[in-house]
Each structure stands twice: as C-alpha cells, then as structure tokens.
C-alpha cells in the first residue's frame, strides 16, 4: 500500500507537487488569519493608498452624505456622527483604534471622539477622546498635578495626587466652597468618586409620572429612605419586528445594585399590535445617596407611567415626550438645549428660560442657547407640542422643587470656563503629530459584551458641531485597529 502510494507520488511531476504545496500553504495561511492563534491582529485601511488588493476589514463610511469622497483625495467628514463597521473573523476582548487625521475645524468645534456601539437596544456608543482642544489650550496656562489621570488646577492648590483625591472624596477641595464642589470641578472622559449632598425645601413623597416617554431614559435618584420601589408601565408599539426586551438597572457608581428584566415573548408581532407590560424593581438602599436608574428599552417602546417611592428623581441628558397632547413644563439648569421634532406637527415656538425660540425644522437636531447665561439658575422649558427629543449635557426634572443636578460639568463644546471652576480631571492624552499636519491619536475600547452583528463591530467618529460651519472638515488618512483577545492555547486549554 505504502509502496503503491510512493509510486503514485513519484509519478506526479515536480511542478504539480510545488503548486499543490502552495495551495496547502494558502489554506493554512488563511485559516491562521481566521483563527488568529496569537490572539492579536491589526486591521488597517489607508485612504491615501491608491491600490487595494482586497476589500479590507473596514467598511465604508455611512451615511454617505456626511463624507466627501473624491478620487485621489482623503475622505472628508463634514457631518456628525460618521459610522463605519469592522469585520473580524472572530471575537476579541479589546480594540485599540488609531486615527490618523488632518483637521480644519473652527474654535466652536474643539472635540473629536471615536466610539464603539456598546448597546444595540438603546443604540449607545461608548465614546473615547481623540482630541479635546479646550483641554489642550488650558494645558499651558493651568498647573498640572498629574498626567494619568490628567489633573489640572488653576493655582497650585495641591502638590500631590493622593491628598487631592482624598479631599475630592470628602467633597472638600481647596479653593472650593464646601457645598459647591460640582461647580468647582469639570471632567472629561472621567467619573470622579465623590459624595454630594442635596437639600430640598419639601419632604420626600411618592411620585407618579403620566407623561409618556419614548425609548430609553436614564434617571438619577436621591432617595431619603432606605427602601426604593419603582414600577414602570410600558407599551410595546410593535412598529418593527425586532425583539423589545425591557430592563431596569439600578446602579451606584460603576456597581450594579439591582436589575429587573422582561423578555419580549411575542416574537412574531403583527404590525401595530400594542402590548402593555409592567416591570417592578424593589431594593434596600442607603438613604441620601445617589443612584442611577436606567430604563433600557428600544425606540419601539413607550414608557406610559412611572411610579416611584421617591420624588427625588431627575432625568439625565434626554427626554422624549410623546402622545401627551397637553402643554409640557420641564426644568433644567443647563444654558443650552438640543431639540429634534419628530414630524412637522411637532414644530413649535417654545419658551426656554423666559426666552422664546422656534423649533422650525422637523427631523433635524436644532440647538438653542440662552443669550444671557444666568449661571446655574433653574430654567423652565415650556413646550406646547410633544414628540420632540429634548437633549442637554445636564438633567431634566418635571418638578421645580425636587430638582437636583448630580452631574459634574463636562469639558465639552458647550463648556465655558468660569472663575469658580478650579480643577479639571480628564482621562485624556492629546494627539501627536504624525507627519506634517497629520495628527494621530488612539482610543482603547473594551469589547466584552458590546453589540456585534454579522461578525462586525460598529464604530463611530464624532465631531460635534462640525456641520455648523461649511469650512469645517476632518480628513481621515488612515484607520488602524488593533484587536486583542484570547490566544488559541487559552481557548483550547483554559476555558
């Protein structure tokens, strides 16, 4: 048998043996690239390169109207945000994105960020800094306390990082008023560990909200009792056929305290067949401490009613009132708003901080800033029609008396340096000059649990406000993503 085989092999011409071995090598190489046995691989796309042998792993930018692509030129981002997805032959646990870019951005567009789609239900992107020119500009004039994390102080209040952090936790920073630490501090890509106390004119009561709110919402709670009960009644509109699971997540800092889930059991809904569901969350908590409650639902679900044991609650960043049919009054201390009318019927004139504004264009996010900035004073937003997405960097409340803002000011494009702002803490490193006017910076993402569809991770490049000035653009020369995860050895012997 063996001799017969040897004879057969000998009869094959040398040339054939050669190309057969080439094919075997070809298969081995591509299987290796599929498995990535070392657990680390880098995918890149050079937009300056003229010839590409394969399609690459990085897909084209979308939507196409936010990017100008001309042959022989680098693609120019002109609208925000810009999405792209990356195919990977297997899953990884970390990604390091390196962006090589040239910018032509005015001073009102100081931020460049990159992100990954972390949650497919609420469509939440985990954004990381690429460039923050506000911080870069302050870098030379402020005193640097540490570089990791970046701590900048207006004056030489602290000499070492340890005493700064112990004072921060105690809520007693040098140069700041004891009960006004939130005004004294600004952060960027950083969540400080600090305890804040709020006082209210009225005593705590149970709360009921009947204003229907569409999609995911996040609340901050500051209960004064040690028991929290929360009941949410939602309507699944079933306008699309996707699953609409509902989640309530109560957390404190980065720790999840309690969670309540409701799976979508109706897997084949007929169009428009509405379903009413109720979800409860009850837990023992510590009184007079700050909690975050996430109502994680898709935009196909409307929160009909919220019943809570405490009225010490505010909504973070976003409100989307729908089908209310009455006038609506909400309160914020933010000096700006971003409003999006979800149809021509939602366009309206509205009042914000006693100034009148006009929301005139449907389906487009419009910005409204108060001409005379009156500090952190509470402002009323008076809307006459609903189905409007209201966004801000701060919080919203339905009650003037129970308003509190636990959000530390962010060094974003709306940031205005005030004399009482003594410190900036940021997890940020500025970009480096790569070549000529091309800059490079990297952002690292944790891929565990992030949304992945059709073997692709979804990334975003965000330059908020880029479309405000037609001369603004961000030319992208190269995108390089280093993925790392478990090696083949770890997968085989250590799972």
């Amino acid at each position: 048998m063996k001799q017969k085989l040897l004879k057969k092999i000998k009869s094959i011409p040398t040339l054939r043996l050669f190309w057969l071995s080439l094919i075997v090598i070809f298969v081995i190489v591509f299987l290796t690239l599929k498995i990535v046995p070392g657990g680390k691989i880098t995918y890149r796309y050079n937009y300056a390169g003229k010839f590409h042998v394969g399609q690459g792993f990085i897909y084209n930018f979308t939507p196409p109207d936010r990017v100008v692509s001309k042959p022989g030129q680098l693609p120019k981002m002109i609208g925000d945000p810009l999405y792209f997805s990356v195919f990977t032959p297997r899953t990884f646990s970390k990604a390091k994105l390196k962006l090589y870019y040239r910018r032509n951005l005015d001073e009102k567009t100081p931020i460049i960020e990159a992100g990954i789609l972390a949650d497919g239900i609420v469509w939440r992107y985990d954004l990381k800094p690429i460039e923050n020119r506000l911080i870069d500009n302050l870098y030379s004039s402020w005193r640097l306390l540490s570089s990791e994390p970046l701590i900048m102080q207006q004056d030489a209040y602290y000499q070492d990082q340890e005493s700064f952090f112990s004072d921060l936790k105690a809520g007693n920073l040098k140069g700041c008023q004891t009960d006004r630490i939130l005004e004294c501090l600004a952060v960027y890509n950083y969540s400080p560990d600090l305890e804040v106390n709020f006082s209210f004119s009225e005593s705590e009561k149970p709360f009921q909200l009947d204003v229907p709110l569409r999609g995911a919402h996040t609340l901050f709670l500051y209960p004064e009792t040690d028991k929290l009960s929360f009941k949410v009644t939602v309507t699944d509109l079933n306008l699309d056929k996707n699953n609409d699971p509902i989640k309530l997540i109560l957390s404190q800092g980065k720790k999840i305290i309690a969670q309540s889930d409701l799976a979508d059991e109706n897997r084949a809904p007929t169009g428009g067949q509405e379903e009413i569901k109720t979800l409860y969350l009850e837990d023992k908590i510590k009184a007079k401490e700050l909690y975050k409650l996430e109502i994680k639902i898709s935009d196909d679900v409307v929160i009909k009613k919220i019943e809570s044991s405490t009225n010490r609650l505010v909504f973070a960043n976003k409100l989307w009132p729908v089908s209310w049919g009455k006038e609506l009054r909400v309160y914020t201390d933010s000096p700006y708003l971003q409003l999006k009318a979800l149809g021509p019927a939602s366009c309206q004139d509205f009042i914000f901080g006693q100034q009148s504004f006009s929301l005139s264009t449907p389906y487009e996010k419009q910005e409204f800033s108060l001409e005379q900035e009156n500090g952190n004073k509470l402002k009323e937003i008076h809307l006459v029609r609903d189905d409007v997405i209201i966004e801000t960097g701060g919080v919203f409340s339905f009650s003037r008396d129970n308003f509190f803002n636990p959000v530390v000011k962010k060094v974003d494009r709306y940031y205005q340096l005030r004399p009482e702002n003594r410190y900036i803490i940021a997890d940020y490193k500025g970009p480096q000059v790569y070549r000529g006017d091309i800059l490079v910076n990297e952002a690292e993402f944790d891929l565990q649990g992030v949304y992945r569809e059709n073997d692709k991770y979804n990334f975003v490049i965000s330059v908020p406000g880029i479309e405000k000035n037609p001369a603004n653009y961000l030319a992208i020369e190269k995108i390089e993503i280093e993925f790392s995860g478990r090696t083949l050895g770890q997968k085989l012997f250590n799972f």
Partner: protein, 66 residues
C-alpha cells in the same frame, strides 16, 4: 528533438499553471463560503478568476495550434 522536448515542457508548464489557478480559485471560493469575507478581505477573488481564465484561454489556443 531537444526543441520538441522544450516545446512540450512549455505546454506542460502552462497546463500546470492553469490547474494551479483553477484549484486555487476553487479552494478560495470554498473557504469564502465556509468563512465569509476571510478571503475577500485580503484578496479579490476576481484576480484569481481572471488568471484562471487567461491561463485556460492560452492553453486552449496553444492546444489548437498544435
């Protein structure tokens, strides 16, 4: 005689080259079906199909003229 052998060797080379490209394209398509995009991301299979077609056509022309 020597010339005849050289010509025959040349034809064998083209034959083997065609077989090589054909087998490589088949393997590439097979791998692409099992693991989508793994080949296409690095290499455009159209180039392989083109090489197979060209080598096949050349071989056909040579065989006809023989």
């Amino acid at each position: 005689m020597n010339f005849f052998y050289k010509k025959k060797e040349k034809l064998v080379f083209w034959e083997e080259l065609f077989y090589f490209f054909f087998s490589l394209t088949t393997v590439a398509i097979f791998l692409e079906i099992i693991f989508p995009r793994i080949i296409l991301a690095y290499l455009n299979i159209n180039y392989l199909i083109l090489a197979t077609t060209l080598s096949g056509l050349y071989l056909l022309i040579k065989n006809k003229s023989k």
